[in-house]
């Protein structure tokens, strides 16, 4: 059975630096296929393919690799082939034992076989053996993970009937990221969304969620769980109505005692979002239409923008474009006289030469961290908060600390293959 553990001919045999030489795929996008001669007789083919697509997507949500179902390429060019069989099957040297005991096996960097004598069931069923759970486990092997005895790990050797929802826990995420690294990439915008709710005493409470937007998809980041929402990313189109479907430049929430206005910016236009009705306004109280041009709503502000954020304490919106920063006074509806300034002047580096200088991706005030972050590429610079300046005298106002990697503060914000975004 050692042969089974070795990759098949023509597979990539690259040790990734993080793994210390353990075998790992070296490609960014892997292809997979449920082979025609390996369909199960228990579920419809569509169901089988859907479950495998979901299983691959679940790994893609926590690691930098993408997975794409490929129905056309020659079989030899497919990275991972899956199939069902009974007893002797699919030319595999390992014979399945019938129902009970061994229900599937995998070749690392190779293929996955399922014993069709087992009673595999879809995720909606609580009977039999969940095909989704077994598939996620076997894909873990193919990606290079061994068995684990840690309670809650998907890589436990024995099948454990799953509770209501199957998800990859923290340790499984760290294990796969140890082999492939963590997810990186620039964001279009990042913002905290405030929700007002009534608790069971009828009092209004305020909660917030953090959103990361990239191209046409987005993640909700659960700060208390240090991870994205299960099942994210999803399409902007599905979660936000009436705003552009992709490439959003900025989001600003003007929130004062008397104002609660949320704006999305893209290109030369901006939209106002109605939080209660969960859709963009089409017009204001005077019947004036949205979207509108930025220069009309925010005189003196250029477009397109790189990003923007609202400073509640100073009741200023900071707009960023190129190397310039514009501070916009929301009460007087105009740019402060002392602006625009160079980004390096308005937000000076605390350590020399460690500064984003220009072309920010996102500027974001985090209620979780009570600080502003400037994001660019895969790095962020934290702006010194009042607390920082009390703790360390001499810090310049709006000074930015040295860069840090984004994945080290916001975990598992990972892309999935475009073909699975609508799952």
């Amino acid at each position: 059975f050692l042969q089974m553990l070795l990759p098949g001919p023509g597979r990539q045999l690259e040790g990734s630096p993080q793994s210390g030489g353990t075998l790992a795929f070296a490609k960014k996008t892997l292809t997979w296929r449920l082979v025609g001669e390996g369909y199960s007789s228990q579920l419809s083919v569509e169901e089988q393919r859907y479950i495998f697509r979901l299983a691959f997507r679940m790994w893609s949500e926590v690691m930098p690799l993408n997975f794409r179902e490929d129905l056309t390429a020659p079989a030899a060019a497919i990275d991972i082939k899956l199939g069902f069989g009974r007893g002797r099957h699919l030319g595999c040297p390992r014979v399945f034992d019938g129902s009970g005991q061994e229900f599937a096996h995998a070749w690392r960097l190779g293929d996955i076989h399922f014993d069709d004598d087992e009673h595999f069931t879809p995720p909606t069923s609580d009977m039999g053996i969940s095909l989704l759970k077994v598939a996620v486990h076997e894909i873990g092997h193919v990606l290079g993970l061994p068995h684990s005895y840690r309670a809650g790990s998907i890589m436990q050797p024995n099948y454990i009937p799953q509770g209501p929802a199957l998800e990859l826990d923290w340790s499984d995420r760290k294990a796969i990221q140890k082999l492939y690294g963590s997810c990186e990439g620039a964001f279009d915008t990042v913002f905290d969304w405030i929700r007002r709710e009534r608790n069971h005493h009828g009092e209004v409470t305020v909660r917030f969620s953090t959103y990361f937007f990239r191209r046409s998809w987005y993640w909700l980041y659960e700060n208390r769980n240090n991870r994205t929402r299960y099942g994210d990313p999803i399409l902007i189109l599905t979660g936000w109505h009436g705003v552009p479907a992709q490439d959003i430049d900025a989001f600003v929430h003007v929130w004062t005692w008397g104002r609660d206005e949320r704006y999305f910016f893209k290109g030369t236009q901006y939209w106002r979002y109605d939080s209660d009705r969960d859709q963009a306004h089409t017009e204001d109280e005077q019947g004036k239409r949205y979207p509108r041009s930025i220069s009309e709503g925010f005189p003196g502000i250029p477009s397109p923008l790189d990003t923007a954020f609202y400073d509640r304490r100073r009741q200023l919106i900071y707009f960023f474009r190129g190397s310039l920063v514009f501070a916009f006074d929301v009460n007087r509806n105009r740019v402060l006289g002392s602006y625009p300034k160079e980004l390096a002047d308005a937000f000076p580096a605390i350590e020399r030469r460690d500064h984003p200088l220009r072309d920010l991706d996102a500027a974001y005030y985090s209620y979780a961290h009570k600080a502003v972050f400037l994001l660019k590429g895969s790095a962020y610079w934290k702006v010194a908060s009042d607390g920082d300046r009390q703790r360390r005298a001499g810090l310049p106002p709006n000074g930015v600390f040295p860069r840090q990697p984004i994945p080290r503060k916001w975990f598992d914000v990972c892309d999935v293959h475009a073909s699975t975004l609508d799952m």
């Binding site: 059975f1 050692l2 089974m4 553990l5 070795l6 793994s19 210390g20 030489g21 353990t22 075998l23 007789s41 228990q42 579920l43 009974r86 007893g87 390992r94 399945f96 034992d97 019938g98 129902s99 009970g100 005991q101 061994e102 229900f103 599937a104 096996h105 995998a106 690392r108 069709d116 004598d117 087992e118 009673h119 069931t121 069923s125 009977m127 039999g128 053996i129 077994v134 486990h137 076997e138 092997h141 290079g144 061994p146 068995h147 684990s148 005895y149 050797p157 024995n158 099948y159």
Partner: protein
């Protein structure tokens, strides 16, 4: 076809002919321990018929320990039950015998030749 009558196939009943042979005796247990990597030796490639004697007791103890069973080293009913549970066919990583990378050791024959130092 495997027999079923309900639309959702929830009453799927595999034929008795294709049931895994239960692991019910020492020989089957030895084969299980060898098959899933519990036999002696760093590469887990123990003898095909499985560990014997003291090696068997040691392998059983290790298996019992990771399955939260009393590590008696004896083939008792609870250990047989654990061996019969539905499981993945990939051999187990045994924490004690393999190094941190838990990567399967590539057999020496396949290891790339190190270039002689200059």
């Amino acid at each position: 076809e495997t027999l079923f009558h309900s639309r959702g196939r929830s009453d799927l009943a595999p034929s008795p002919l294709r049931r895994a042979t239960p692991i019910a005796d020492l020989r089957a247990a030895q084969r299980f321990l060898s098959k899933y990597g519990w036999a002696e030796g760093p590469s887990g490639a123990g003898p095909p018929e499985g560990p014997q004697g003291a090696a068997l007791a040691e392998a059983l103890r290790r298996f019992q320990k990771v399955n939260a069973l009393p590590a008696s080293g004896n083939l008792d009913a609870a250990t047989l039950a654990a061996m019969n549970r539905p499981r993945c066919g990939v051999p187990d990583a045994r924490p004690q015998l393999r190094d941190k990378s838990t990567a399967p050791q590539t057999p020496p024959g396949l290891r790339p030749r190190a270039r002689p130092k200059r």
